[in-house]
Point group: C2
Chain length 268, copies 2
């Protein structure tokens, strides 16, 4: 296959829809994915996990993945919350948080009094009319207030049902306040670059495997990283003829992608 | 003033922010507006009320306005709900309703089983994550399902606070489902035209007075109706330098607009 013609020295993996599907309790591992991650590790290929998951802390996410059988360390996981926390600190911004209570501990050191910014995470059922109005008023009463959106995903699969992600709510507040959100997380270039830097791998030596054709595959490609689309998670048949994004490859699942990466590595 | 150079043979009025401000209980009449409506009626000038109010029935809205002192009849009021009900019937569409329970009676005769459309009204605190997800799933599972938005307003003033209107939620579902909403109500041309036809008045003989520069003033102007912006309701100083819409006039309130209309009428 053409996507493995040049060497792959580092692998970026999306988590939800690639490693496992969320749902009741811990959700369930996608068949072959636990072994695929273990085989990559055994081959000595550096791996980082790039997730837009913001409904829970990285710690809780890693604990859940370990219960599902994945051999994964906290410092391999890159998620938007730590990234936005450091951005808020750097720019001395005080956010109004639209987020799930389960992620509160990651914002514990952030000053939120008298807010001059809004951070939209995946708040799930905590996306209430009241909370959205509070966020709206922070923005509409202060033209300089910054709107951060942790990812801009349209929807994801939860317990076999497609479910609204943070992106639609960002678009709602953008429209209401006539301003543009700053995206932290995929598909922002800085997010992929941070994970690559941590592996010491150049973009054209890396591959990103994801189920979101725009945010995983298209986002990676814009950084010069190969983008591989799995047919698991939120994948829809229509993605194979997406108007804007042409993945470097489609694979049925992560196991198939890893098969190909390791086959090439053995040949080398 | 130039906006009254040619005769005004019919007047369209927005309700919220022009006649009254919503808020606790019935809200309150804007000073001078009760008398202004009475003076227009006494002068024999035809008047219709074009509102995007969809959180309550026309009947309840008219009852409230009468309690506030306005002399107004049900059949003078044009609102999006009756308009969308007739559109659904004409196209044999079965909607999933995102709306406030107070408006349910207007949809009483509409078949909602096995929905192939979504109608977004101003649901207020009934814009919940669960309801928005249900609407999203109707649309995402059926590429032919139609999304109707009853107006596309960004926000309105409620009890002195700016509050999210239906528009941001329409944008959210548009983004999530990659489709465009059909707008019923202002600023849709058909909506203004229905009210004009009811008065038997041509667009260039009419004026629309509203507090929403895009939906009232800009919408009317696109139909060839003069658009007058009041400095009450949701008006913001920034509206005076709006990038897209240049009102035919700014007036401090409805009373001032009616003064000018009647002064010209007496001269004629």
């Amino acid at each position: 296959m053409s996507w493995t013609k040049t060497p792959i020295r580092g692998v970026l993996l999306d988590i939800t829809g690639v490693l496992y599907n969320s749902g009741e309790g811990d959700g369930e591992a996608i068949p072959g994915s636990v072994e695929a991650v273990a085989r990559l590790a055994a081959s000595g290929t550096p791996v980082r996990f790039c997730t837009n998951e913001t409904m829970t802390t990285r710690r809780r996410l890693v604990e859940k993945l370990r219960r599902l059988g994945f051999d994964i360390e906290l410092d391999q996981v890159f998620s938007p919350v730590p990234a936005v926390v450091s951005e808020l600190r750097r720019r001395r911004l005080r956010p109004f948080l639209v987020s799930h209570p389960d992620v509160a501990e990651e914002f514990a050191d952030v000053v939120t009094m008298n807010p001059n910014a809004v951070v939209l995470a995946d708040a799930g059922r905590h996306f209430t009319y009241e909370i959205l109005n509070e966020a709206f008023r922070v923005l509409i009463t202060n033209p300089d207030a910054v709107l951060f959106s942790l990812g801009i995903g349209k929807y994801y699969k939860d317990a076999d049902r497609l479910t609204l992600d943070v992106g639609p709510f960002a678009r709602a507040l953008e429209y209401a306040t006539s301003r543009k959100a700053e995206v932290v997380g995929k598909p922002a270039k800085a997010f992929f670059e941070t994970a690559l830097r941590d592996m010491g791998v150049e973009p054209n030596d890396a591959v990103m495997v994801g189920d979101d054709i725009v945010n995983d595959v298209g986002g990676a490609q814009k950084c010069g990283i190969r983008g591989v689309q799995v047919r698991t998670g939120k994948f829809q048949p229509g993605d194979e003829r997406h108007p804007d994004v042409k993945p470097d490859a489609f694979v049925n699942n992560l196991a198939e992608a890893v098969d190909e990466i390791l086959r090439k590595k053995e040949q080398a």
